[in-house]
Symmetry: C2
Subunit: 341 residues, 2 copies
């Protein structure tokens, strides 16, 4: 179910939860408020910024995390914050090197919980050899926060080939690095106190190692995008619009855990829009797809080839459904699952 | 008045407002929780981190801003967030180059206010030729935030001499770049709805240009520290303890605007502990002090020489009072002015 939320102009003069959804209103906020204010074009639109210092090409990225609950099956806000920033750097073709962490703590928050969160952050950074090198702590009164909010910013050095939407070609194969929707459902089921046959753990993990392996094997990657707020559908729609191409994915080939599928049916959610935090889509030329998929499966057996780029006639994304028809995927207007990351 | 706040162990198991004060509890949180969790010694203790990428020495810093009110005489949370990160980089001897901004917005926050804040951020970055290059926006429900919280992280390239506490020498002169306490009193008077004879504007401003001028004139600077939470006294105490030296400052020479002094008396605050956001202390050898002060005065006429480093017998900071006695300055335990930045 794609929640739509028609907004009268008056209402748009205030921040809505949907401005943080990663959907239409998020893009609108960046394009109509932040980019003009910062006097920039769309070069800060995705994941991170690139620049050179001396003879080094660097990437720089930032993300704040407000996920609720703070602890959920498979992780907590701490490792989520570190994996998120590591993955943003990895999507820029960068090796994550140095991370910062800024904590906004609510008065009364448990020091034990904070200790666990900090330990998870360190383990997550260690997983790719990155270092948490600088930090900051602020405290707000009870009722002005929600336990803890974390900002992680990161610096990486560009090592890998430069994948970008502009390189997407007709006939490119679309691969996904693993089954979708686990993170969103892990959060949602904890938040709502739902239990299913099996516990769904968040998919939050680092993607840098996978990309490094693909690069070492000489796999050509035209474009990369990690799936976060808005899920698989939102990522593909943004890429299709940026590049001006049409794409088709086959719903029958999209890896979704049975429990995630069941939970989505129960909750009235379309799994294609549910957030992941350790999954990416990759666009490869057809002759690289098989080898690429085999490498992806070494890291995550549920990886799949899910579709292809069609042509440049009409920028959109369609999905072949289980009954063989095609539906057009549209951006979310409202917020399907607020505060998922 | 130095608020003390004896804390029974039980109470310390939860976050208190004072953990965000920049005083004793803030240090304790870093030293006993974050540094052990991140497997690090005290190299992330101050302002920023240093590292080399290729042949470039870089500095990296992060700060979250939770100031309340969001708008006050002389500024708002946006320019504060940018000046704060610029100044942290400047304190590392770095030229601020690239900044990130992470916004945590509360549902219902005014888009007009956000537009003003973003514009202020851009002006502040422009003042030193730095660029806001990457950003992130999250939205939390009403009652889970306080309008807007901003994280700014920054990257700079090390250009200036490496000033650090370890270089402080007996007989070094202690200079201050301008009158103290304006930021804290601007915030406090707005928050409490107090009016004084003249409006006190925040001192928030960039310090990079001043440092660049000192460097160009060949001024030797042994140590630098910007005055933020905890004010002048806290900065000096930390430096005295880190270096293991005693220092004396003369209260009669410390520049304080009459209205700030009056407000402090009225509010029961010691101005030496009131936050600044555009002031620093500098330690110079005696033969560089006069020229250094003259350059400081070019940027801010209220700059002064306020004291000197004594010896290495007993790490402490004393202040010669208006009646000629000496008092020992101690760290704040509680939080004199919460959410000042």
């Amino acid at each position: 179910m794609n929640l739509t939320c028609p907004l009268p102009t008056k209402q748009r003069e205030k921040i809505l939860l949907a401005h943080g959804s990663g959907g239409k209103l998020s893009s609108e906020l960046v394009e109509t408020l932040f980019l003009p204010a910062f006097g920039r074009s769309n070069d800060i639109l995705h994941d991170g910024a690139f620049f050179s210092i001396g003879n080094q090409k660097l990437a720089f990225t930032t993300d704040s995390y407000v996920v609720q609950p703070l602890f959920y099956p498979g992780g907590n806000i701490g490792d989520l914050a570190v994996y998120g920033t590591i993955n943003d750097l990895a999507m820029c073709g960068a090796r994550p090197l140095y991370l910062s962490c800024g904590f906004i703590l609510e008065e009364g928050f448990s020091l034990d919980a904070l200790t666990q969160i900090a330990a998870s952050m360190n383990r997550a950074a260690d997983s790719v050899g990155a270092k948490l090198v600088t930090g900051d702590t602020k405290v707000v009164e009870r009722g002005k926060g929600d336990g803890v909010y974390i900002n992680t910013s990161g610096i990486g050095v560009i090592e890998n080939q430069c994948a970008k939407p502009q390189k997407i070609q007709p006939d490119d194969q679309i691969l996904i690095s693993g089954d979708i929707g686990r993170h969103g459902i892990a959060i949602m089921s904890t938040r709502e106190g739902l239990t299913f046959d099996s516990t769904i753990e968040s998919d939050a993990k680092e993607l840098f190692s996978t990309l490094q392996a693909l690069d070492q094997e000489g796999i050509e990657i035209h474009c990369l995008r990690d799936l976060t707020r808005g899920g698989l559908a939102t990522a593909l729609i943004e890429l299709a619009e940026t590049r001006g191409v049409s794409m088709n994915i086959d719903e029958r080939s999209i890896p979704i855990h049975d429990t995630v599928r069941g939970a989505c049916e129960f909750l009235g959610l379309d799994p294609l829009y549910v957030a992941c935090e350790g999954r990416m889509v990759l666009f490869t030329p057809p002759d690289h797809a098989e080898k690429a998929l085999s490498i992806l499966k070494d890291f995550e057996p549920t990886a799949q080839s899910i579709g292809q780029v069609l042509d440049q006639s009409n920028p959109n994304v369609t999905a072949t459904t289980f009954i063989g028809t095609r539906r057009i995927l549209d951006r979310l207007t409202g917020d399907q699952l607020p505060r998922i990351c």
